[in-house]
């Protein structure tokens, strides 16, 4: 038997997806975010980018996946946990979010005026912008081509 780590539904061994919350079950072991060992933290102030008129955010994963979203409202990145009613706009479970140390509510992307910002939501393993760790709960401007890292998961930002 295996148990869905998100909503505790029980399935036979080797079941691929949870029928309740749609989580990918192969390889998921625990439900909490494990702290990552041996990460270095450097305080760097990233330079502001010019993102005038951007409407769409595209996140590209090293795995080859891409997610495109309109920037009309804030976008929360994290891991979906139906059991705790956490519904991020972008669920990173299938990008190995759990193994990479992504929190349920990890970071968010917002547009204010002509600028797009990323903000860490006090995540356990931190959010990095071009390899520099961000202070939690402070918005940092991002530009096209920036690398945003959640825990160990690296996303390349494309703005259109």
């Amino acid at each position: 038997m295996i148990k869905c780590p998100f909503c505790n539904a029980v399935y036979p061994e080797n079941t691929l997806f949870c029928q309740e919350c749609g989580s990918y079950l192969a390889g998921a072991n625990g439900q909490g975010t494990d702290p990552l060992i041996g990460q270095t933290v450097a305080e760097v102030n990233p330079t502001a980018g010019d993102s005038a008129g951007f409407m769409t955010l595209t996140l590209a994963f090293d795995s080859g996946g891409r997610i495109e979203l309109p920037l009309s409202k804030e976008i929360v990145l994290g891991r979906l946990d139906a059991g705790r009613a956490v519904f991020p706009d972008i669920d990173l479970t299938n990008e190995q979010g759990m193994e990479m140390g992504v929190s349920r509510r990890h970071a968010r992307v917002v547009r204010r005026g002509n600028q797009v910002f990323v903000e860490d939501l006090n995540s356990l393993n931190g959010t990095f912008l071009n390899a520099a760790r961000l202070a939690p709960e402070l918005p940092y401007p991002i530009k096209d081509g920036d690398k945003v890292q959640l825990g160990k998961l690296i996303l390349t930002v494309h703005l259109k």
Binding site: L16, C21, G22, A82, I90
Partner: protein
């Protein structure tokens, strides 16, 4: 009993064996088929009580059991004849010789290939899941022969169709007239409170008169589906032949009242007659449950057209699909090994649809030449001894007009290896990964199932659960890049939370949108 040897008939395909099959294989194939088609066995199955009908709760495509086994006796004779011939070495050699002379020793008409989620399974004390993806396609080498159409368009001309909708429908109908081949028969029915024959089926078709008659259709009155459906089926049965593609395209934009049950009965009758219904709904106000079930009962499909501008394209796609039909009355036969249970079967492509296993058989309808069908089986496997185990025996049957009037059959086994020492391995380490095609297909299918459950929960008043499910679904849809559908799911979650019901449009968007989450695996290893 001696029979005339007919080199045009593919006796190998009738038995579902390759032309180099040895005696044992031929014997085994014959025994299996004989068990299935022997008149006594057929009679015995027919005596058994019908399984209780499924409550069609928003569950699309609920198909009834196979109709009375017409033609089984004939099929049995065919099987016997093929076996008698191939089992006699002398006759077989003569037959092979003739076939080579006439260039008829061709490869089988179908290609059946499978992938399993786990090639290597641990021996466990408990049951485990296993997924099998089955891809069915037309053999490339075989030239497709277009089947003549016996087509009836049944068009809603109620007041609400006035304007762009009716304009587009007429244009689409005229396009179909232009596309008709020499052997095709077309009839057109319009309906409101009653039905009128706009174009009666005739051969050869008078295209100019048909175009003119279609142009004269006027919008007026209510929507009485049954009237149109009955008139359409009547026209079709006047010309119906087994070697034709008998199809009825029904298009409506409104609710019909009080005749739902009668419509379903007509649809069931159409299925028995091998007339497929393609039901199309325009706009937010028609009854998707009804149209879906009608299509399902007849082995056809139902389609959602969200704006008048898309009517033409939908008709065009349908008429081209019909021109591309390679095989009819396709059925997948599944025999499970010991300790194997088929839990669910879904069609994954061209459109997601739940399928039903009835007497070890799944009806798959039509196969297009260019568009493979992909079916996903979810199995429950109970404990097995170590070693190679045959889980399933699959056989595919269907009639392929391009190779003759007999049933074509091919077979394939699905086997995996059980290993005792896998139990010790932790997590995914040391195990080959699940093939990406299966993960993608199951991921999309899971979203489709969430949709079906959410709609069912709304029906039974579990509003909070349904709201949460729609939200989860939205996140999953975003994950796979389906931003538009995700937005629709979120909007419906909001609408549902506020009003306790779904919007007519959103409900259809989700229902039909999730069906389009299909995949066709590029590389499937036979």
């Amino acid at each position: 009993m001696k029979h005339e040897i007919d080199p045009q008939r593919d006796y190998y395909a009738i038995l579902g064996v390759l032309s180099d099959a040895d005696e044992q294989t031929i014997k085994r194939a014959y025994r299996q088929l004989a068990r299935r088609y022997h008149p006594d066995a057929v009679a015995r199955r027919a005596d058994q009580p019908e399984p209780a009908e499924q409550s069609g709760q928003g569950e699309p495509g609920a198909e009834d059991g196979a109709p009375a086994p017409a033609g089984t006796a004939e099929r049995f004779r065919e099987i016997q004849q093929a076996y008698e011939l191939l089992n006699d070495p002398q006759q077989r050699e003569t037959y092979d010789h003739w076939r080579r002379q006439e260039g008829l020793d061709r490869p089988p008409a179908f290609v059946l290939s499978t992938i399993v989620s786990h090639e290597l399974l641990p021996c466990l004390d408990e049951s485990q899941s296993l997924y099998v993806l089955v891809k069915i396609s037309a053999a490339e080498e075989i030239e497709s022969r277009r089947m003549p159409l016996n087509l009836c368009l049944v068009l809603d001309r109620s007041t609400s169709m006035k304007g762009a909708r009716l304009q587009q429908v007429k244009e689409a109908a005229r396009y179909i007239v232009d596309q008709l081949g020499e052997d095709d028969i077309l009839s057109v029915i319009s309906f409101s409170d009653r039905a009128e024959i706009v174009v009666a089926g005739q051969w050869p078709a008078d295209k100019a008169a048909a175009r003119a008659a279609i142009s004269r259709i006027q919008a007026d009155g209510g929507t009485e589906l049954l009237q149109g459906l009955k008139a359409g089926l009547e026209e079709l049965s006047r010309w119906r032949r087994d070697d034709m593609l008998n199809s009825l395209i029904l298009l409506t934009d409104g609710q019909t009242y009080g005749d739902d049950q009668a419509c379903l009965e007509e649809a069931g009758w159409a299925g028995v007659q091998h007339i497929q219904l393609v039901t199309m709904g325009i706009g937010p106000d028609w009854n998707d449950d009804l149209l879906d079930r009608m299509a399902g009962l007849s082995g056809g499909i139902s389609l959602y057209i969200d704006s008048a501008a898309k009517i033409s394209r939908t008709f065009q796609e349908q008429i081209h699909t019909m021109g591309d039909v390679f095989a009819q009355n396709l059925a997948l036969l599944i025999h499970c090994g010991e300790g194997i249970e088929v839990r669910e079967i879904f069609r994954i492509a061209p459109q997601i649809k739940p399928l039903h296993l009835d007497d070890s058989q799944v009806a798959l309808g039509l196969l297009e030449k260019q568009q493979p069908q992909v079916v996903l089986l979810e199995l429950l496997v109970s404990s097995q001894q170590p070693g190679r185990v045959r889980l399933l025996q699959l056989a595919l049957e269907g009639s392929v007009p391009a190779v003759g009037d007999h049933m074509v059959r091919i077979q394939q086994d699905v086997a995996v290896t059980f290993a005792p020492d896998l139990t010790g391995a932790t997590g995914t380490i040391g195990r080959p990964p699940v093939p990406p095609d299966i993960v993608t297909a199951m991921g999309k299918l899971t979203i489709y199932k969430m949709q079906a459950r959410a709609l069912a929960e709304v029906e039974t008043g579990q509003i909070d659960t349904a709201v949460n499910r729609l939200k989860t679904m939205a996140t999953r849809l975003l994950n796979i890049g389906e931003a538009e559908l995700a937005r629709a799911a979120l909007l419906e979650a909001g609408h549902l939370a506020q009003t306790g019901s779904l919007s007519g449009e959103g409900r259809k968007k989700l229902r039909y949108g999730t069906r389009g989450l299909t995949i066709v695996p590029k590389e499937v290893h036979p």
